[in-house]
Symmetry: C2
Subunit: 254 residues, 2 copies
């Protein structure tokens, strides 16, 4: 099962997420009873859709399936609840404003004792460990810089904060401010960079399908990050435990 899915591209990329498997198996007793959410950026704006309900009943999943998304940065999360009751406010991804940008965060794992870390500025709306960790990261960034620093400095700091959090348990993370996609692998995360021409354009998981539009230019670069490789016939980079990578415009930065 894929719990985290992210995308970074150098041009607004027309991808279509299909949750057919999720919808088919998302009943009251299945492993996917805990909802899912997706956020995608359009310039500085950010759209998020959250569905805490079993997907089989989900009007939103049906809508997203038919909705063509043009975006350069996407963060998607399929939840298996382990802390926090199942509710809209506990459904990833989470979003907050920092430095005049919308930040979005999704997490897979558990963090022991995270709630003992004090928060100055950002407060969780829900009760998950994950949202607390997100607020803690943004608190640290805000405390360190009054305005957005350079991208290399930002990536270094987020790498250090993620490594700190990973000491509390399992921490697989996708984080973005709408330009870069910051990825920490605590236990499992993989990525692939596809360049035009994309060739076979479908990524398949038991839960979802990602279709890339056929119309691409020779300059298109799209990186997909997921809990595990979504295709068997391509070479994914399976990240090491406790490693970090950031992408911007589909290319690694840092």
């Amino acid at each position: 099962m894929c719990e985290l899915l992210g995308m970074s591209a150098n041009t607004p990329t027309d991808i279509c997420f299909s949750f057919a498997g999720l919808m088919r198996r998302g009943g009251g007793t299945g492993p996917h009873r805990d909802g899912w959410g997706i956020a995608f950026y359009d310039g500085r704006g950010c759209r998020a859709f959250h569905d805490p309900c079993p997907s089989v009943q989900s009007e939103i999943a049906h809508f997203i399936r038919g909705y063509s998304i043009k975006s350069r940065v996407v963060v998607c999360h399929i939840r298996k609840a382990n802390r926090g009751r199942i509710s809209l406010e506990n459904t990833h991804p989470f979003t907050r404003e920092l430095w005049g940008r919308n930040w979005t965060f999704a997490h897979n794992g558990q963090l022991r004792g995270i709630k003992r870390r004090p928060l100055d500025y950002y407060r969780p709306v829900g009760t998950t460990d994950s949202e607390h960790a997100f607020c803690w990261i943004l608190d640290r960034l805000r405390a360190r810089w009054h305005d957005a620093p350079t991208m290399p400095a930002l990536a270094r700091e987020i790498r250090a904060l993620a490594a700190d959090l990973a000491e509390l348990g399992v921490f697989n993370m996708l984080l973005t401010e709408g330009r870069a996609l910051f990825c920490h692998c605590g236990t499992k995360l993989a990525w692939i960079t596809r360049r035009s021409p994309f060739g076979p354009a479908t990524l398949v998981d038991e839960d979802l399908t990602v279709d890339f539009a056929q119309e691409t230019t020779p300059h298109d670069v799209v990186t997909v990050v997921a809990t595990h490789p979504l295709t068997a016939n391509e070479t994914w980079t399976v990240m090491d435990r406790n490693s970090f990578v950031a992408f911007r415009d589909g290319e690694p930065v840092g």
Copy 2:
């Protein structure tokens, strides 16, 4: 044309917003080319849908039309852009977190010189006067109270802040933290409280239709706030210029 629409109810109320008129006339040259947005609460969680595109092309408007919304607090805005380019980040309503709650804001009007007011904590993502005013309100609330005050104290403070902003121009506002709906009328705003049995359950504007579910209990109370009365055969309270009212569970508070 209705620019602001809000709802406060004492029970999750099944309302169906229909944007048929908006979709029919929302072409590239019509008065509604500037998009619309809606936010509705589910407990502490908040869902928002924004559509900066002409509604006639809008997949989101079609989706919302068929989506049954159960909520106690709703804020909807239909935009006529006067400041800030048409884009996702400039589309109302705006949302920020304060005191562990999602706050949502929508505004009709213009505010001269608002951008000269300094902001400490909250920064606009887009370029509208409205988002700047929203950030200013939250800044003032945060500076005054570390944690949420009592509802009467909060309503008094928001009333004073709104009156202050209204001196800069036209300021018709809907603001909520998910429980109370704070309403400032600068020039035009009206409301009606409906109690079960609701009788004729349809509110019609040239742009939209609001249908209440037929199934209500004898205790249901629903207040609707709009730029102008949406029905001719009922007695709406047309607010005085520069007046304020707050609703919780459909009833006035303050």
